[in-house]
Each structure stands twice: as C-alpha cells, then as structure tokens.
C-alpha cells in the first residue's frame, strides 16, 4: 500500500493483533462458562447420586432391622407356645 511503507505493515499487524486478542477473549469467556457449567452439572449429578445411595442404604438397613425383629418375635412366640404345650 502507498509505496510499501513499513508503517502500513505495522498498522496491519497491530490491527490484526488487537482483533485476534479481542476475539480470543470472547472465545475464552464462552469456553470458560461452558466448562464451569459442565462442572456444576457434574457436581449436581454426584450430589444426587450420593443422596440416592444414602436413601437406598437407609431403606436397606430399615428392612434388615424389620426382618430381624420379625424373626425374633416369631422365634420367641413359638418357643413360648412350645413350652406351654409341654
């Protein structure tokens, strides 16, 4: 451009550099937000999984306890009835 003055090359490099920097900043923000959202989603899913596990374990232990009580009750009454019969 206009006699090939090196100043124009400098101007072109400056413009391109600043433009690339601006676009890179915008792209970084988009990438960063997406990554943070994904991490939040993962954390949320892990929390739900943990809650489900806790609930399942509570239910299992309740069920076991119920079974044990039923067995104890059954065995005790049966033993008493046997003793009475004798």
């Amino acid at each position: 451009m206009e006699g090939g003055n090196p100043f124009y090359l400098l101007l072109a490099i400056g413009t391109a550099g600043m433009l690339v920097m601006a676009v890179a900043i915008v792209a970084f923000i988009l990438y960063y937000q997406k990554r943070m959202l994904n991490e939040k989603l993962k954390q949320h899913q892990m929390e739900i999984e943990h809650q489900e596990n806790t609930l399942r374990m509570t239910l299992e232990s309740q069920e076991n306890e119920r079974k044990r009580l039923a067995k104890d009750l059954h065995d005790g009454v049966q033993a008493m009835l046997q003793a009475l019969r004798l």
Binding site: L11, G14, M18, A22, I25, L30, Q33
Partner: protein
C-alpha cells in the same frame, strides 16, 4: 471520492440506522441500556449524514474533522453512560465516572485550537476506555457466572461487538494523525476498511438487540 469509499459510508450508515430502529421497537418496554443504544444509533446516523454532506460539499470540507471530533466526544459519553447502566458493581460505576471526568478534561485540554484537525489522542483514549469497560463487563459476567447460556444474553453480543470493533480500530486511531500529517494518506482505503468493519459491528449489535426484542415480546405475551 472513490466508489467503494462512498458505498462503505452508506453501508455503515445503514448499520447505525438499523441499531436505532431495532432499539425503538417497544421503546418504553426496553431496558435503559437498550434505549441508550438506540440513541447511539440515531446519533451515529446524524453525524454520519452531516459528514456525508460535508464530504460532497467542497467548501465545507474544513468542517469534516470538526464533525468527527465532536462525534468522538458524544459517542464516548453515550458509551460510558451505556456501561454505567449495565454494571451492578458500585466500584465499576465509580470507575466509569472517573473515566468520564478524565476524558472530558483530556478532550477540552487537547482540542482548543485543534478543532479542524484529525486528533489521534481523543480517539485512542475513547478506544481504550471502551476496551477496558468491555473487559470489566466480561470480568463481572464470569464472576457472577450465570446458569443460562451466555450466548442468549443480548448484552454479551453487544459488548463483544464493542470490544472487537474498538480493539480492531485501536491501531488506526493511534496512527491516524501520523498517517495524515507525515505519510499524507487521504485515508480513503483505510476508512473504507474501517467502515466495513463498523458495519459488521453494527450487525452484531443488531443481533443482540434482536435477542432483547424477542425477550421483550415473550414477556409481553406471557403477561397478556
């Protein structure tokens, strides 16, 4: 004046007009920053029209730079007001006030006796202020970390367009005085490129305004 330069003037004028018109629809229902953008569009159209009239009127050519210098001041103040309204942080708002005062002092210190010259410093400072304000907006956006997709936020596109445009023209603003005074460049080709770039900037801003308009319409439908 060559054809491509003339076309680029009209194209960027059309872009500014589009910004103004998209901001005017449902004007009363729009947020203050959008109203300000609409005003920014109208202001650009006004000054660009004045500039076109001056370019075609050879006797008034002396006033072309005066028109541009006044436009730079008005544009900077409108954009500062725009950023002032989109920030929630008090520190950021205070910083905007500091920028505005600093710019006014710089402007009225530099401009007396140079009204008809193409002043670099006021344009460079304007670009720097807009770049810093845009970066501050993105910093606060990342800190707040919205749960929705930010590409659906009108302000994201508008500020991204501002950052890209003012960063892209920063080098030109810095060297404009040197180009004219030392290299005797008539700026036709450079200004054609700048105008084309500005048109792209206007289109991205319009996309943001259109997203905002869609949100306003949805809200209106829900409240009916």
């Amino acid at each position: 004046m060559n054809d491509s330069y003339a076309i680029s003037i009209y194209v960027q004028q059309a872009g500014s007009l589009l910004i103004a018109l998209l901001g005017v629809v449902y004007f009363l229902k729009r947020h203050l920053p959008i109203k300000l953008l609409s005003f920014y569009g109208f202001n650009s159209v006004l000054f660009q029209t004045a500039s076109t009239i001056i370019v075609y009127n050879h006797k008034a050519r002396l006033y072309l730079n005066l028109n541009g210098n006044i436009y730079t001041l008005v544009e900077t103040l409108i954009l500062l007001l725009f950023f002032f309204t989109i920030y929630n942080s008090r520190i950021a708002k205070s910083l905007i006030l500091v920028f505005a005062s600093g710019y006014l002092i710089l402007y009225f210190t530099l401009m007396p006796n140079h009204w008809t010259e193409l002043e670099s410093s006021i344009r460079t400072t304007r670009d720097l202020i807009v770049i810093v304000c845009s970066l501050m907006y993105f910093y606060f956006l990342l800190r707040e970390m919205p749960t929705g997709e930010i590409t659906k936020y009108p302000m994201f596109w508008i500020v991204a367009a501002m950052l890209s445009f003012f960063a892209g023209t920063f080098a030109l603003s810095v060297s404009i005085q040197y180009l004219v005074k030392v290299l005797h460049n008539d700026l036709a080709l450079l200004w054609t490129m700048r105008n084309t770039f500005r048109f792209v900037f206007c289109l991205v801003v319009c996309y943001g305004l259109w997203l905002d308009l869609r949100q306003v319409r949805t809200n209106l439908t829900l409240t009916k």
